[in-house]
Subunit: 338 residues, 4 copies
Amino acid sequence: MIVKFKESTEKKDIELLRKHLIDLGFAIHESVGQTYTIFGIVGDTTKFDMNSLYAFPSVDTVLRVQEPFKKVNRKFKLTDTIVDIGGVPIGGKNIVMIAGPCAVESREQVDLTTGLIQAAGAKILRAGAYKPRTSPYSFQGLGPEGLGILKDARAKYGIPVVSELMSIEDLPLFLDAVDMIQVGARNMQNFSLLKELGKIDKPILLKRGLANTIEEWLMSAEYILAGGNERVILCERGIRTFETATRNTLDISAVPVLKKLTHLPVIIDPSHASGRWEYIESLSKAAIAAGADGLIVEVHPEPEFALSDGQQSLKPERFADLVVKCRRIAEAIDRTLD
Amino acid sequence: MIVKFKESTEKKDIELLRKHLIDLGFAIHESVGQTYTIFGIVGDTTKFDMNSLYAFPSVDTVLRVQEPFKKVNRKFKLTDTIVDIGGVPIGGKNIVMIAGPCAVESREQVDLTTGLIQAAGAKILRAGAYKPRTSPYSFQGLGPEGLGILKDARAKYGIPVVSELMSIEDLPLFLDAVDMIQVGARNMQNFSLLKELGKIDKPILLKRGLANTIEEWLMSAEYILAGGNERVILCERGIRTFETATRNTLDISAVPVLKKLTHLPVIIDPSHASGRWEYIESLSKAAIAAGADGLIVEVHPEPEFALSDGQQSLKPERFADLVVKCRRIAEAIDRTLD
Amino acid sequence: MIVKFKESTEKKDIELLRKHLIDLGFAIHESVGQTYTIFGIVGDTTKFDMNSLYAFPSVDTVLRVQEPFKKVNRKFKLTDTIVDIGGVPIGGKNIVMIAGPCAVESREQVDLTTGLIQAAGAKILRAGAYKPRTSPYSFQGLGPEGLGILKDARAKYGIPVVSELMSIEDLPLFLDAVDMIQVGARNMQNFSLLKELGKIDKPILLKRGLANTIEEWLMSAEYILAGGNERVILCERGIRTFETATRNTLDISAVPVLKKLTHLPVIIDPSHASGRWEYIESLSKAAIAAGADGLIVEVHPEPEFALSDGQQSLKPERFADLVVKCRRIAEAIDRTLD
Amino acid sequence: MIVKFKESTEKKDIELLRKHLIDLGFAIHESVGQTYTIFGIVGDTTKFDMNSLYAFPSVDTVLRVQEPFKKVNRKFKLTDTIVDIGGVPIGGKNIVMIAGPCAVESREQVDLTTGLIQAAGAKILRAGAYKPRTSPYSFQGLGPEGLGILKDARAKYGIPVVSELMSIEDLPLFLDAVDMIQVGARNMQNFSLLKELGKIDKPILLKRGLANTIEEWLMSAEYILAGGNERVILCERGIRTFETATRNTLDISAVPVLKKLTHLPVIIDPSHASGRWEYIESLSKAAIAAGADGLIVEVHPEPEFALSDGQQSLKPERFADLVVKCRRIAEAIDRTLD
């Protein structure tokens, strides 16, 4: 960390900050220039909030030179992390397709969809039993009944399941019914939730918040790893920008940036990113070409009558076609999609 | 709600959607033009997700003509709502100053600060016992001990208290210790939390999410009112944009927009909006001139040594000066700041 | 276009707007509901600024149902436009690589780079003689001398050239020296410039503005086509968002959105989008997989000593490797990259 | 400027960068830590593009410690600049109201409006003869005829005039007809135009670009001052964000930030910021309370029939009321609005 003092700062103010930093356990490497003084601060600054130094009126600029995350940092673990989801590894050479309806609507709907997506090549089933909805008047999910339906589908088809947890009090039900717990975009900085998920032994699918930077996202993953749970998968699902032609703006650059910064697997959700089924094929192929380790795609047998997100759900036959096309991209970058 | 079909849509596809909408209980007012057909959809569309209609391939555009919120809507309650916080009304002619440290750090710190801000003109004490921090390694708040300190300050100084709740399991402690419960920006769409807060009898300070539209914000308030708790105050605290000169970008326009759309009180947090103490005076005066019903300002006796947000905390003497200046603005718009 | 009146609007106010619209040549299809009235406005609304109707106090909402662009609209020209750049077609089955240094720095630099990128598979040379720089103190380009160097490289290598025009007074020089004129992001809404480019007989590479919507971008293209020049290629180069890990955020979704809305070719600039050479390979492969018709990539023989944008320039050998990898992606989607 | 090398960078790579920087005329202050090396770079880095150092693979982070602007920098000129516009000073204790229609539509319209806004308290007339319009089919302004009308209004009412220049070839007409030349948001980084405006002897009203940072805005002002024209006024007019309730988002914080960074006057355009006449009063009062030196407000005698921007234009009587209210705010901060 580097601190630049304002020009013509008095010596006593420089000493005040020096004492503060030394009290906090840091060493200081001082550079005195013609017009201003610079402190190079040595020590583990990961746990220090650098912005707090702006409270000193003598401080002009504070600059960080180390990433604030540790356990998720590629620098401290060079090899890719592979997370096993009920027997399906994510993060290795093989690209994994996760698919299913936005919401669990009925036993028949889940049963029908699971059979079709599995036949098409999906390896994990996704479906929401608890739905975060902007409006209190919208369908809020079937809750425990929905989890029961998912558990039965898992048993019948032998397919692992991922579903979104919205409240920590529902955790016991999830531990029983699903193979991976999804933290939704709106809860990416629900730190109370993250702390609890750090204590359990179950993979976590951590979606990026609508307007969170990649660094903040990694810090949220750090919450989970710091708690002891190292099985985290990151999911980019579009960020909020000024553009309205798509529901969100898929930040495809997040793939190579994350691959540089962290060892955790990265998947893409083209359904929420685009908000329209007709753009999903293009974005899915781009995601794989960019280096993503998997996709999570909304599929519904009758999108027109879906209780949520029908406009961004693929019909099963389109999904089957998508898998074939994505496999060709995977092979073109020397990966597989089995 | 209005649906425009694609050009040259076949009659059977129009009838398919007509049947779907009638099944949902809506009436349809059809307009057949030369090149396309339009449905005007009549009925209570508040509870209907209009985007779902894009799942019909024949649909070109869906347009909403009614706001999706009801209980918070100014159209259904013309008079301003005034919320009483432990004897202090917010939302009327008088502008209210809320002040205090970012975090409860110690009994002495809270005691000292409370006396000073009350003497300067603050009517409500703010301080966090639970702190949402980007890093798991940062100070996370004193928790229950912090709430106890706040409760004692309330008793000693006879000042109402507002503090942030991060997890529903802590609610009983908050019901006992504080007069208003704050929902932080990161939890604005924590719908599980909002639902619980709709069931209680305690005012809620609902901060705007970093990247949430005003409409989404009002929908989150609607969650609380729909649950039965009508005592909600909205707090604009800056949104996330491309500009980095300030921590966030204060959306001052939110004040007149909210005053038009809703009857709920609106306050401004200039501390989080700017992220720097030196900009707080300018933004505070602007907020009052724009029509805000109050301010929530971070004040710390020694910002340099604050455990969080020192860079955006005012010293008590600066806060006292701020109150005097804000009072002059209040009087220039025929309001008071007592 | 649809106008919804405020509830309880008086008849005289409805008639005032009716007269205004009829005077403007529109026909009106009126729907009178229980609580409000709606006008469906029939006629060519492309040339009408719908926001102007908000000046009528009786108007609650104005909704557009037609795109505001015509000549660039896919609805009016179903087949893909193919633009010929000095013998190189862009917009067909074959994907085209455009490459070269950010700026013309010297005759030797251009000569060396052109030979290398051509050998690697690039079909068009890019290089700036006039450079838009944020700082007046940065290198501003060689100007006319730079154009002369490009003209000579074109003659020697038989490779078409694209370069950025910043001021209409330089147009004669560009007509002589280059095969395609680039309009930079900062000039996307320089309407005086666009009008002049509509009058000439030379392909235009229209980059998207930093914060312009896809619709605004198409309207800028419409300026050029409306003037008579139909040879426009659109170039997505990243938009400005809150994320700072990359220089800009590549809006990969723009590819399928544009392919739906317009018949014009679409290319991607991964160099400006990412701002770092190490992310270019990932984004390039994604761009092709998403359906882009070409790439424009910055290549410099010695990036460390480039006068501009060295941090986002590939070395020639990396570019050669990139072409091979991109060709594999092209083949996986049944296109070519020759 | 500070450069941090990657961990375990080899000595030869450090020496390579050292030589490069010394060749450029800089001195280097080196700090060797346990895990990495830091260069403090001494010299005038204003003219150096720090991002170019990322082209060196050994470089991890480059940090700037000096502002990149000089002539506009408050550090080099402590006193506020006051710009005289045809006898009206902007930037001193008195707050100045600029008003008028979006576009010159006719001699009668300008004549009528000028009389009314002057009587209400406006000191400068604004009106566009050349209009930047998103659509090529919208009204583009009266051009030279419009400037002639403005010149006549100036002569008749003795009021200075400001109007927007879109193309450098129109400059002679502007030098004759107006007292201040406006550079619109879309041309804020039209560097060719800025360079020409640096050579003339006429005040410039430089509007902020839709998505430009405050630093980029100051760099554009620097272009003009570096050319020799020191009479620049900055105008904040709203930035582009995700929020759609207003046309743009007024960045009110820009006022105190600019007052800290630069000595140039700052005014606010509440009309373009909000896009709706009903929000103008609230934003105008906020702007003055925040410390702006003036306002530029759209006023039209019949907004319903305006050829552009009617929805954000005040009627003359509302403008007169606005002036009275703004004067009260001015007095509450010990300024005047005469």
